[in-house]
Protein backbone atom coordinates (compact mmCIF):
# COMPACT_ATOMS: atom_id res chain seq x y z
CA UNK A 1 0.00 0.00 0.00
CA UNK A 2 1.16 3.49 -0.81
CA UNK A 3 2.52 5.51 2.09
CA UNK A 4 0.83 8.63 0.83
CA UNK A 5 -2.92 8.10 1.18
CA UNK A 6 -5.16 5.08 0.97
CA UNK A 7 -5.66 2.68 -1.91
CA UNK A 8 -8.34 4.25 -4.12
CA UNK A 9 -11.43 2.21 -4.97
CA UNK A 10 -12.18 1.31 -8.57
CA UNK A 11 -15.42 3.28 -8.42
CA UNK A 12 -13.69 6.46 -7.23
CA UNK A 13 -11.10 6.08 -10.00
CA UNK A 14 -13.85 5.62 -12.59
CA UNK A 15 -15.64 8.72 -11.32
CA UNK A 16 -12.40 10.66 -11.49
CA UNK A 17 -12.54 11.50 -7.78
CA UNK A 18 -9.36 9.55 -7.03
CA UNK A 19 -6.06 9.41 -8.90
CA UNK A 20 -3.87 6.39 -9.37
CA UNK A 21 -0.80 6.09 -7.17
CA UNK A 22 1.52 7.56 -9.78
CA UNK A 23 -0.50 10.72 -10.38
CA UNK A 24 -1.08 11.15 -6.66
CA UNK A 25 2.66 11.34 -6.05
CA UNK A 26 3.11 14.12 -8.57
CA UNK A 27 3.84 17.53 -7.08
CA UNK A 28 3.46 19.41 -10.36
CA UNK A 29 -0.04 18.80 -11.70
CA UNK A 30 -1.09 22.13 -13.16
CA UNK A 31 0.02 22.08 -16.81
CA UNK A 32 0.56 18.30 -16.82
CA UNK A 33 -2.15 17.03 -19.17
CA UNK A 34 -1.62 13.42 -18.06
CA UNK A 35 -2.56 14.39 -14.49
CA UNK A 36 -6.03 15.47 -15.66
CA UNK A 37 -8.50 12.60 -15.22
CA UNK A 38 -11.91 12.00 -16.78
CA UNK A 39 -13.73 14.11 -14.19
CA UNK A 40 -16.69 11.81 -14.77
CA UNK A 41 -18.31 12.76 -11.45
CA UNK A 42 -18.75 16.32 -12.69
CA UNK A 43 -20.11 15.13 -16.05
CA UNK A 44 -22.75 13.10 -14.25
CA UNK A 45 -23.44 15.98 -11.89
CA UNK A 46 -24.02 18.52 -14.65
CA UNK A 47 -26.44 16.21 -16.48
CA UNK A 48 -28.34 15.55 -13.25
CA UNK A 49 -28.50 19.26 -12.41
CA UNK A 50 -29.78 20.22 -15.87
CA UNK A 51 -32.39 17.49 -15.75
CA UNK A 52 -33.47 18.52 -12.24
CA UNK A 53 -33.78 22.15 -13.34
CA UNK A 54 -35.99 21.08 -16.24
CA UNK A 55 -38.14 18.98 -13.88
CA UNK A 56 -38.47 21.82 -11.34
CA UNK A 57 -39.23 24.41 -13.95
CA UNK A 58 -41.93 22.12 -15.37
CA UNK A 59 -43.48 21.64 -11.94
CA UNK A 60 -43.43 25.31 -10.97
CA UNK A 61 -44.00 26.71 -14.46
CA UNK A 62 -40.88 28.94 -14.46
CA UNK A 63 -40.68 29.18 -18.25
CA UNK A 64 -43.38 29.82 -20.86
CA UNK A 65 -44.01 26.54 -22.75
CA UNK A 66 -43.65 28.62 -25.92
CA UNK A 67 -39.91 29.12 -25.15
CA UNK A 68 -39.10 25.81 -23.51
CA UNK A 69 -41.55 22.90 -23.14
CA UNK A 70 -42.39 21.29 -19.79
CA UNK A 71 -40.95 17.83 -19.16
CA UNK A 72 -44.25 15.95 -18.89
CA UNK A 73 -45.59 17.52 -22.08
CA UNK A 74 -42.37 16.67 -23.90
CA UNK A 75 -42.47 13.05 -22.78
CA UNK A 76 -46.09 12.84 -23.88
CA UNK A 77 -45.24 14.39 -27.25
CA UNK A 78 -42.29 12.01 -27.66
CA UNK A 79 -44.57 9.03 -27.03
CA UNK A 80 -47.04 10.42 -29.54
CA UNK A 81 -44.31 10.99 -32.12
CA UNK A 82 -43.03 7.45 -31.65
CA UNK A 83 -46.52 5.93 -31.91
CA UNK A 84 -48.10 8.13 -34.57
CA UNK A 85 -45.18 9.72 -36.33
CA UNK A 86 -44.99 13.32 -37.48
CA UNK A 87 -47.18 14.55 -40.33
CA UNK A 88 -48.02 11.01 -41.45
CA UNK A 89 -44.39 9.92 -41.48
CA UNK A 90 -43.09 7.66 -38.72
CA UNK A 91 -40.47 9.18 -36.43
CA UNK A 92 -37.91 6.50 -37.20
CA UNK A 93 -38.47 7.25 -40.88
CA UNK A 94 -37.61 10.91 -40.35
CA UNK A 95 -34.43 9.86 -38.56
CA UNK A 96 -33.58 7.15 -41.05
CA UNK A 97 -33.99 9.38 -44.12
CA UNK A 98 -31.49 11.85 -42.61
CA UNK A 99 -29.02 9.09 -41.69
CA UNK A 100 -29.49 7.51 -45.11
CA UNK A 101 -28.68 10.81 -46.84
CA UNK A 102 -25.52 11.20 -44.75
CA UNK A 103 -24.32 7.66 -45.44
CA UNK A 104 -25.01 7.95 -49.18
CA UNK A 105 -23.28 11.31 -49.38
CA UNK A 106 -20.22 10.14 -47.46
CA UNK A 107 -19.95 6.88 -49.45
CA UNK A 108 -20.24 8.67 -52.79
CA UNK A 109 -17.75 11.28 -51.61
CA UNK A 110 -15.34 8.54 -50.57
CA UNK A 111 -15.85 6.65 -53.82
CA UNK A 112 -14.73 9.64 -55.87
CA UNK A 113 -12.55 11.44 -53.32
CA UNK A 114 -10.25 8.56 -52.38
CA UNK A 115 -9.13 7.76 -55.95
CA UNK A 116 -8.82 11.50 -56.60
CA UNK A 117 -6.68 11.94 -53.47
CA UNK A 118 -4.53 8.97 -54.50
CA UNK A 119 -4.02 10.48 -57.95
CA UNK A 120 -3.10 13.82 -56.40
CA UNK A 121 -0.66 12.15 -54.02
CA UNK A 122 0.97 10.03 -56.72
CA UNK A 123 1.07 12.17 -59.85
CA UNK A 124 2.32 15.72 -60.40
CA UNK A 125 -0.10 16.19 -63.29
CA UNK A 126 -3.13 15.14 -61.24
CA UNK A 127 -2.00 17.32 -58.36
CA UNK A 128 -1.55 20.33 -60.63
CA UNK A 129 -4.90 19.78 -62.34
CA UNK A 130 -7.05 19.33 -59.27
CA UNK A 131 -5.24 21.39 -56.65
CA UNK A 132 -6.84 24.74 -57.54
CA UNK A 133 -10.32 23.19 -57.55
CA UNK A 134 -9.90 21.29 -54.30
CA UNK A 135 -8.24 24.17 -52.45
CA UNK A 136 -10.88 26.62 -53.70
CA UNK A 137 -13.87 24.43 -52.84
CA UNK A 138 -12.56 23.32 -49.45
CA UNK A 139 -13.22 26.51 -47.45
CA UNK A 140 -16.72 27.05 -48.92
CA UNK A 141 -19.34 25.94 -46.38
CA UNK A 142 -21.57 23.34 -48.10
CA UNK A 143 -24.65 25.34 -47.08
CA UNK A 144 -23.54 28.18 -49.33
CA UNK A 145 -23.96 25.81 -52.26
CA UNK A 146 -27.62 25.04 -51.50
CA UNK A 147 -29.09 27.82 -53.69
CA UNK A 148 -27.03 26.71 -56.68
CA UNK A 149 -27.92 23.08 -56.13
CA UNK A 150 -31.61 23.90 -55.88
CA UNK A 151 -31.31 25.73 -59.21
CA UNK A 152 -29.62 22.69 -60.75
CA UNK A 153 -31.51 19.78 -59.23
CA UNK A 154 -34.65 21.26 -57.70
CA UNK A 155 -35.40 20.10 -54.17
CA UNK A 156 -35.67 16.34 -54.61
CA UNK A 157 -33.51 13.65 -53.10
CA UNK A 158 -30.74 14.03 -55.73
CA UNK A 159 -30.15 17.61 -54.63
CA UNK A 160 -29.61 16.69 -50.99
CA UNK A 161 -27.36 13.74 -51.70
CA UNK A 162 -25.37 15.77 -54.20
CA UNK A 163 -24.83 18.47 -51.58
CA UNK A 164 -23.58 15.91 -49.07
CA UNK A 165 -21.45 14.30 -51.75
CA UNK A 166 -19.74 17.65 -52.30
CA UNK A 167 -19.35 18.21 -48.56
CA UNK A 168 -17.55 14.88 -48.12
CA UNK A 169 -15.75 14.83 -51.48
CA UNK A 170 -13.14 17.45 -50.60
CA UNK A 171 -12.64 16.15 -47.08
CA UNK A 172 -12.01 12.65 -48.46
CA UNK A 173 -9.76 13.90 -51.25
CA UNK A 174 -7.56 15.82 -48.85
CA UNK A 175 -7.43 12.94 -46.36
CA UNK A 176 -6.41 10.43 -49.04
CA UNK A 177 -3.85 12.78 -50.53
CA UNK A 178 -2.23 13.54 -47.20
CA UNK A 179 -2.23 9.81 -46.40
CA UNK A 180 -0.40 9.04 -49.62
CA UNK A 181 2.08 11.86 -49.03
CA UNK A 182 2.90 10.58 -45.56
CA UNK A 183 4.02 7.13 -46.71
CA UNK A 184 7.63 6.70 -45.59
CA UNK A 185 9.91 6.32 -48.56
CA UNK A 186 11.86 3.58 -46.75
CA UNK A 187 8.71 1.39 -46.79
CA UNK A 188 8.27 1.92 -50.51
CA UNK A 189 11.95 1.26 -51.15
CA UNK A 190 11.84 -1.85 -49.00
CA UNK A 191 8.86 -3.16 -50.98
CA UNK A 192 10.55 -2.53 -54.32
CA UNK A 193 13.65 -4.33 -53.07
CA UNK A 194 11.45 -7.24 -52.06
CA UNK A 195 10.36 -7.51 -55.68
CA UNK A 196 6.96 -5.81 -55.50
CA UNK A 197 5.55 -4.32 -58.71
CA UNK A 198 4.04 -0.83 -58.90
CA UNK A 199 0.51 -2.15 -58.60
CA UNK A 200 1.56 -4.29 -55.61
CA UNK A 201 3.17 -1.25 -53.97
CA UNK A 202 -0.10 0.61 -54.43
CA UNK A 203 -2.23 -2.24 -53.07
CA UNK A 204 0.04 -3.60 -50.32
CA UNK A 205 2.03 -0.58 -49.12
CA UNK A 206 0.41 2.73 -50.03
CA UNK A 207 -3.22 1.69 -49.46
CA UNK A 208 -2.77 0.20 -45.95
CA UNK A 209 -0.49 3.09 -45.03
CA UNK A 210 -3.24 5.52 -46.02
CA UNK A 211 -6.12 3.74 -44.27
CA UNK A 212 -5.74 5.50 -40.89
CA UNK A 213 -5.97 8.92 -42.54
CA UNK A 214 -8.82 7.82 -44.79
CA UNK A 215 -10.60 6.69 -41.67
CA UNK A 216 -10.07 10.03 -39.99
CA UNK A 217 -11.43 11.60 -43.19
CA UNK A 218 -14.58 9.45 -43.10
CA UNK A 219 -15.09 10.38 -39.45
CA UNK A 220 -14.77 14.08 -40.20
CA UNK A 221 -16.98 13.77 -43.28
CA UNK A 222 -19.67 11.97 -41.27
CA UNK A 223 -19.70 14.80 -38.72
CA UNK A 224 -19.76 17.56 -41.31
CA UNK A 225 -22.44 15.80 -43.38
CA UNK A 226 -24.66 15.24 -40.36
CA UNK A 227 -24.56 18.95 -39.62
CA UNK A 228 -25.13 19.77 -43.28
CA UNK A 229 -28.04 17.39 -43.78
CA UNK A 230 -29.98 18.84 -40.87
CA UNK A 231 -29.36 22.36 -42.12
CA UNK A 232 -30.26 21.41 -45.69
CA UNK A 233 -33.51 19.85 -44.48
CA UNK A 234 -34.33 23.08 -42.68
CA UNK A 235 -34.24 24.85 -46.02
CA UNK A 236 -35.99 22.44 -48.31
CA UNK A 237 -37.42 19.04 -47.39
CA UNK A 238 -40.63 17.38 -46.27
CA UNK A 239 -38.99 14.48 -44.51
CA UNK A 240 -35.94 14.18 -42.23
CA UNK A 241 -35.16 15.39 -38.71
CA UNK A 242 -34.27 18.85 -39.92
CA UNK A 243 -37.53 19.31 -41.79
CA UNK A 244 -39.41 17.93 -38.78
CA UNK A 245 -38.18 20.66 -36.44
CA UNK A 246 -38.66 23.35 -39.08
CA UNK A 247 -42.28 22.36 -39.71
CA UNK A 248 -42.89 21.98 -35.97
CA UNK A 249 -41.63 25.53 -35.49
CA UNK A 250 -44.22 26.79 -37.98
CA UNK A 251 -46.90 25.20 -35.81
CA UNK A 252 -45.27 26.58 -32.65
CA UNK A 253 -44.71 23.02 -31.36
CA UNK A 254 -41.71 23.86 -29.18
CA UNK A 255 -41.71 20.38 -27.65
CA UNK A 256 -41.29 18.70 -31.05
CA UNK A 257 -38.49 21.15 -31.88
CA UNK A 258 -36.68 20.24 -28.65
CA UNK A 259 -37.16 16.51 -29.23
CA UNK A 260 -35.77 16.95 -32.74
CA UNK A 261 -32.71 18.76 -31.39
CA UNK A 262 -32.14 16.03 -28.80
CA UNK A 263 -32.36 13.40 -31.54
CA UNK A 264 -29.90 15.31 -33.76
CA UNK A 265 -27.42 15.57 -30.90
CA UNK A 266 -27.80 11.93 -29.93
CA UNK A 267 -27.38 10.62 -33.48
CA UNK A 268 -24.33 12.82 -34.07
CA UNK A 269 -22.79 11.49 -30.87
CA UNK A 270 -23.63 7.90 -31.82
CA UNK A 271 -22.06 8.29 -35.28
CA UNK A 272 -18.83 9.53 -33.69
CA UNK A 273 -18.75 6.65 -31.19
CA UNK A 274 -19.38 4.04 -33.89
CA UNK A 275 -16.63 5.50 -36.06
CA UNK A 276 -14.15 5.50 -33.18
CA UNK A 277 -15.00 1.90 -32.43
CA UNK A 278 -14.61 0.91 -36.10
CA UNK A 279 -11.30 2.73 -36.21
CA UNK A 280 -9.88 0.77 -33.29
CA UNK A 281 -11.18 -2.42 -34.89
CA UNK A 282 -10.05 -1.82 -38.48
CA UNK A 283 -6.82 0.19 -38.23
CA UNK A 284 -5.24 -0.81 -34.91
CA UNK A 285 -1.83 0.17 -36.26
CA UNK A 286 -2.80 3.86 -36.48
CA UNK A 287 0.05 6.06 -35.33
CA UNK A 288 2.35 3.09 -34.70
CA UNK A 289 4.46 3.36 -37.90
Amino acid sequence: MAENGKRPSALMMWLGLADNAFTRQKTVKFGDASAVNSGRFYSIAVVVVLFTLWTLSSIFGWVEPFFWPPLDGTVERAAKLINEGFRNVALWEHVWISVYRVISGVLLGALVGIPLGFAMGLSSIARGLFDPIVEFMRPIPPLALIPLIILWFGIDETAKIFLLFLASLFIMTIAARSGVSSVKISKVHAAYSLGASRIQILRHVILPNTLPEIFTGIRTAMGVCWGTVVAAELVAADRGVGSMIMIAKNFLQTDTVVIGILIIGAIGYAIEMVMRWLERLLVPWKGKG
Partner: protein, 267 residues
Protein backbone atom coordinates in the same frame (compact mmCIF):
# COMPACT_ATOMS: atom_id res chain seq x y z
CA UNK B 1 26.61 -16.10 -58.14
CA UNK B 2 28.66 -13.09 -59.05
CA UNK B 3 29.99 -10.16 -57.03
CA UNK B 4 29.15 -6.48 -57.32
CA UNK B 5 31.14 -4.47 -59.85
CA UNK B 6 31.13 -0.72 -59.28
CA UNK B 7 32.71 0.91 -62.26
CA UNK B 8 33.77 4.58 -62.19
CA UNK B 9 30.57 5.77 -60.58
CA UNK B 10 30.08 9.51 -60.20
CA UNK B 11 27.08 11.26 -58.79
CA UNK B 12 26.64 14.98 -59.22
CA UNK B 13 23.62 16.90 -58.00
CA UNK B 14 23.01 20.05 -60.03
CA UNK B 15 20.88 22.79 -58.59
CA UNK B 16 19.93 26.09 -60.23
CA UNK B 17 21.95 28.97 -58.85
CA UNK B 18 24.26 26.87 -56.67
CA UNK B 19 27.54 25.05 -57.03
CA UNK B 20 27.31 21.41 -58.13
CA UNK B 21 27.47 18.85 -55.34
CA UNK B 22 29.81 15.98 -56.06
CA UNK B 23 28.35 13.29 -53.86
CA UNK B 24 30.57 10.67 -55.51
CA UNK B 25 33.49 11.00 -57.87
CA UNK B 26 34.96 8.12 -59.89
CA UNK B 27 34.24 5.42 -57.36
CA UNK B 28 35.31 1.95 -58.44
CA UNK B 29 34.97 -1.12 -56.27
CA UNK B 30 34.85 -4.86 -56.77
CA UNK B 31 33.01 -6.84 -54.14
CA UNK B 32 33.38 -10.60 -54.36
CA UNK B 33 30.46 -12.97 -53.92
CA UNK B 34 30.04 -13.90 -50.27
CA UNK B 35 32.09 -11.01 -48.93
CA UNK B 36 30.89 -8.94 -45.99
CA UNK B 37 31.96 -5.35 -46.58
CA UNK B 38 31.43 -2.41 -44.27
CA UNK B 39 31.51 1.21 -45.39
CA UNK B 40 32.51 3.97 -43.02
CA UNK B 41 33.00 7.70 -43.41
CA UNK B 42 32.04 11.11 -42.08
CA UNK B 43 28.61 12.44 -43.00
CA UNK B 44 28.57 13.80 -46.51
CA UNK B 45 31.06 11.26 -47.87
CA UNK B 46 28.45 9.75 -50.15
CA UNK B 47 28.17 6.35 -48.51
CA UNK B 48 24.39 6.37 -48.48
CA UNK B 49 24.34 7.69 -52.05
CA UNK B 50 26.56 4.77 -53.07
CA UNK B 51 24.26 2.29 -51.34
CA UNK B 52 21.21 3.82 -53.01
CA UNK B 53 22.90 3.54 -56.40
CA UNK B 54 23.69 -0.14 -55.82
CA UNK B 55 20.12 -0.70 -54.59
CA UNK B 56 18.88 0.94 -57.78
CA UNK B 57 17.04 3.82 -56.10
CA UNK B 58 19.41 6.35 -57.70
CA UNK B 59 20.86 6.37 -61.17
CA UNK B 60 24.51 7.56 -61.24
CA UNK B 61 25.48 10.58 -63.32
CA UNK B 62 28.34 8.56 -64.83
CA UNK B 63 29.57 5.00 -64.54
CA UNK B 64 27.61 1.86 -63.77
CA UNK B 65 27.01 -0.87 -61.22
CA UNK B 66 26.86 -4.45 -62.48
CA UNK B 67 25.63 -7.58 -60.75
CA UNK B 68 25.07 -11.08 -62.14
CA UNK B 69 26.26 -9.93 -65.57
CA UNK B 70 23.79 -7.11 -66.04
CA UNK B 71 23.72 -3.42 -65.26
CA UNK B 72 21.68 -2.24 -62.28
CA UNK B 73 18.88 -0.04 -63.58
CA UNK B 74 16.39 -0.11 -60.70
CA UNK B 75 15.51 -1.94 -57.51
CA UNK B 76 15.16 -5.71 -57.79
CA UNK B 77 14.60 -8.71 -55.56
CA UNK B 78 18.20 -9.84 -56.22
CA UNK B 79 19.32 -6.94 -53.98
CA UNK B 80 17.65 -6.92 -50.56
CA UNK B 81 17.64 -3.89 -48.27
CA UNK B 82 17.66 -3.50 -44.51
CA UNK B 83 16.97 0.04 -43.31
CA UNK B 84 17.74 1.74 -40.01
CA UNK B 85 14.13 1.65 -38.87
CA UNK B 86 10.54 2.33 -39.84
CA UNK B 87 10.61 0.17 -42.95
CA UNK B 88 8.49 -2.67 -41.57
CA UNK B 89 4.84 -2.80 -42.59
CA UNK B 90 3.02 -2.08 -39.34
CA UNK B 91 -0.33 -3.33 -40.70
CA UNK B 92 1.11 -6.83 -41.07
CA UNK B 93 2.15 -9.14 -38.27
CA UNK B 94 5.69 -10.52 -37.98
CA UNK B 95 4.98 -13.57 -40.15
CA UNK B 96 3.36 -11.59 -42.92
CA UNK B 97 6.13 -9.04 -42.92
CA UNK B 98 8.67 -11.81 -43.42
CA UNK B 99 6.50 -13.47 -46.07
CA UNK B 100 6.04 -10.21 -48.00
CA UNK B 101 8.57 -10.94 -50.76
CA UNK B 102 7.47 -14.55 -51.45
CA UNK B 103 3.81 -13.46 -51.31
CA UNK B 104 4.38 -10.72 -53.87
CA UNK B 105 6.14 -13.23 -56.10
CA UNK B 106 3.19 -15.59 -55.69
CA UNK B 107 5.18 -18.47 -54.16
CA UNK B 108 3.18 -21.47 -52.89
CA UNK B 109 1.80 -20.88 -49.39
CA UNK B 110 3.13 -24.04 -47.81
CA UNK B 111 6.64 -23.35 -49.03
CA UNK B 112 6.50 -19.78 -47.70
CA UNK B 113 5.14 -20.90 -44.36
CA UNK B 114 8.00 -23.35 -43.89
CA UNK B 115 10.51 -20.71 -44.92
CA UNK B 116 9.08 -18.16 -42.47
CA UNK B 117 9.20 -20.75 -39.68
CA UNK B 118 12.88 -21.41 -40.40
CA UNK B 119 13.73 -17.74 -40.52
CA UNK B 120 11.93 -17.03 -37.25
CA UNK B 121 14.15 -19.63 -35.65
CA UNK B 122 17.26 -18.33 -37.38
CA UNK B 123 16.83 -14.74 -36.15
CA UNK B 124 15.69 -15.82 -32.68
CA UNK B 125 12.02 -14.86 -32.96
CA UNK B 126 10.44 -18.31 -32.68
CA UNK B 127 6.92 -17.91 -31.28
CA UNK B 128 6.61 -14.24 -32.26
CA UNK B 129 5.08 -14.87 -35.70
CA UNK B 130 1.58 -13.70 -34.80
CA UNK B 131 2.66 -10.51 -33.03
CA UNK B 132 2.01 -7.09 -34.55
CA UNK B 133 5.40 -5.61 -35.38
CA UNK B 134 4.70 -2.38 -33.50
CA UNK B 135 4.62 -4.33 -30.24
CA UNK B 136 8.23 -5.46 -30.68
CA UNK B 137 11.33 -3.71 -29.34
CA UNK B 138 13.69 -1.95 -31.74
CA UNK B 139 16.11 -4.88 -31.76
CA UNK B 140 13.38 -7.39 -32.47
CA UNK B 141 12.03 -5.21 -35.27
CA UNK B 142 15.46 -5.28 -36.91
CA UNK B 143 15.46 -9.07 -36.58
CA UNK B 144 12.19 -9.07 -38.51
CA UNK B 145 13.73 -6.76 -41.12
CA UNK B 146 16.68 -9.16 -41.55
CA UNK B 147 14.37 -12.17 -41.83
CA UNK B 148 12.11 -10.37 -44.31
CA UNK B 149 15.12 -9.66 -46.47
CA UNK B 150 16.40 -13.25 -46.28
CA UNK B 151 12.97 -14.69 -47.09
CA UNK B 152 13.41 -13.35 -50.60
CA UNK B 153 16.75 -15.13 -50.97
CA UNK B 154 18.57 -12.14 -52.52
CA UNK B 155 22.12 -12.44 -53.88
CA UNK B 156 23.20 -9.26 -52.15
CA UNK B 157 22.02 -7.71 -48.89
CA UNK B 158 22.45 -3.96 -48.51
CA UNK B 159 22.22 -2.57 -45.00
CA UNK B 160 21.85 1.14 -44.30
CA UNK B 161 22.93 1.65 -40.68
CA UNK B 162 20.78 -1.29 -39.62
CA UNK B 163 21.80 -1.04 -35.97
CA UNK B 164 22.01 2.74 -35.80
CA UNK B 165 18.89 3.24 -33.71
CA UNK B 166 19.60 0.51 -31.15
CA UNK B 167 21.06 0.76 -27.67
CA UNK B 168 24.62 -0.42 -27.10
CA UNK B 169 23.82 -3.85 -25.64
CA UNK B 170 21.22 -4.75 -28.26
CA UNK B 171 23.62 -3.53 -30.89
CA UNK B 172 26.33 -5.96 -29.78
CA UNK B 173 23.89 -8.86 -29.84
CA UNK B 174 22.71 -7.89 -33.30
CA UNK B 175 26.28 -7.67 -34.57
CA UNK B 176 26.67 -11.29 -33.57
CA UNK B 177 23.45 -12.14 -35.40
CA UNK B 178 24.59 -10.43 -38.61
CA UNK B 179 27.85 -12.39 -38.56
CA UNK B 180 25.93 -15.60 -37.94
CA UNK B 181 23.58 -14.90 -40.83
CA UNK B 182 26.53 -14.12 -43.07
CA UNK B 183 28.15 -17.41 -42.18
CA UNK B 184 25.01 -19.50 -42.53
CA UNK B 185 23.67 -17.99 -45.74
CA UNK B 186 26.91 -17.05 -47.51
CA UNK B 187 25.29 -13.88 -48.87
CA UNK B 188 27.23 -10.89 -50.14
CA UNK B 189 26.63 -8.17 -47.57
CA UNK B 190 27.35 -4.45 -47.84
CA UNK B 191 26.77 -2.59 -44.59
CA UNK B 192 26.97 1.13 -43.95
CA UNK B 193 27.64 2.33 -40.44
CA UNK B 194 28.68 5.37 -38.44
CA UNK B 195 30.43 3.26 -35.84
CA UNK B 196 34.12 2.53 -36.34
CA UNK B 197 33.94 -0.29 -33.85
CA UNK B 198 31.08 -1.92 -35.76
CA UNK B 199 32.70 -1.42 -39.16
CA UNK B 200 35.87 -3.16 -37.93
CA UNK B 201 34.06 -6.03 -36.28
CA UNK B 202 31.59 -6.81 -39.06
CA UNK B 203 33.67 -6.23 -42.17
CA UNK B 204 35.97 -8.84 -43.64
CA UNK B 205 36.67 -5.78 -45.70
CA UNK B 206 36.31 -2.16 -44.57
CA UNK B 207 35.98 0.74 -46.98
CA UNK B 208 36.66 4.21 -45.60
CA UNK B 209 35.18 7.01 -47.66
CA UNK B 210 36.09 10.69 -47.67
CA UNK B 211 33.94 13.70 -48.56
CA UNK B 212 34.18 16.48 -51.15
CA UNK B 213 34.09 14.90 -53.53
CA UNK B 214 32.78 11.60 -52.14
CA UNK B 215 35.47 8.99 -52.80
CA UNK B 216 37.07 5.84 -51.47
CA UNK B 217 39.98 6.67 -49.18
CA UNK B 218 41.04 3.28 -47.85
CA UNK B 219 40.24 -0.35 -48.47
CA UNK B 220 41.21 -2.68 -45.59
CA UNK B 221 41.06 -6.45 -45.44
CA UNK B 222 40.36 -7.46 -41.85
CA UNK B 223 40.40 -10.70 -39.85
CA UNK B 224 37.95 -9.66 -37.12
CA UNK B 225 34.68 -10.80 -38.71
CA UNK B 226 36.13 -14.32 -39.17
CA UNK B 227 37.35 -14.29 -35.59
CA UNK B 228 34.02 -13.04 -34.33
CA UNK B 229 32.40 -16.21 -35.66
CA UNK B 230 34.33 -18.42 -33.28
CA UNK B 231 35.62 -16.15 -30.54
CA UNK B 232 33.88 -14.06 -27.92
CA UNK B 233 33.19 -10.63 -29.44
CA UNK B 234 34.54 -8.90 -26.33
CA UNK B 235 37.84 -10.70 -26.76
CA UNK B 236 38.06 -9.76 -30.43
CA UNK B 237 37.28 -6.14 -29.68
CA UNK B 238 39.94 -5.89 -26.97
CA UNK B 239 42.72 -7.59 -28.93
CA UNK B 240 45.76 -5.43 -29.66
CA UNK B 241 45.51 -5.42 -33.45
CA UNK B 242 41.80 -4.49 -33.29
CA UNK B 243 42.48 -1.61 -30.92
CA UNK B 244 45.35 -0.35 -33.09
CA UNK B 245 43.22 -0.41 -36.23
CA UNK B 246 40.41 1.33 -34.39
CA UNK B 247 42.66 4.17 -33.28
CA UNK B 248 44.13 4.50 -36.77
CA UNK B 249 40.72 4.76 -38.43
CA UNK B 250 39.30 7.00 -35.71
CA UNK B 251 42.06 9.54 -36.20
CA UNK B 252 41.57 9.36 -39.98
CA UNK B 253 37.85 10.09 -39.67
CA UNK B 254 38.59 12.72 -37.07
CA UNK B 255 40.92 14.63 -39.36
CA UNK B 256 38.34 14.44 -42.16
CA UNK B 257 35.73 15.91 -39.83
CA UNK B 258 38.15 18.69 -38.90
CA UNK B 259 38.74 19.46 -42.56
CA UNK B 260 34.99 19.74 -43.06
CA UNK B 261 34.71 22.14 -40.14
CA UNK B 262 37.65 24.18 -41.48
CA UNK B 263 36.03 24.21 -44.95
CA UNK B 264 33.25 26.15 -43.29
CA UNK B 265 30.49 25.63 -45.83
CA UNK B 266 29.08 22.69 -43.91
CA UNK B 267 26.44 20.32 -45.24
Amino acid sequence: MDGIHIDNVSMTFTLPGAADIHALKDVSLEIGAGEIVTVLGPSGCGKTTLLNIIAGFLSPTRGAVRLNGHEVRGPDAERGMVFQQGALFEWLNVERNIAFGPNMAGRPRAETRAKVENLLNLVGLAGFGEKPVYQLSGGMQQRVALARCLANDPDVILMDEPLGALDALTREKMQGLILKLWQETGKTILLITHSVEEALFLGSRLIVMAPRPGRIEKDYRLPFAERGLTQDPREVKSSTDYVERREEILSMIWSMEEEIMAGGTGE
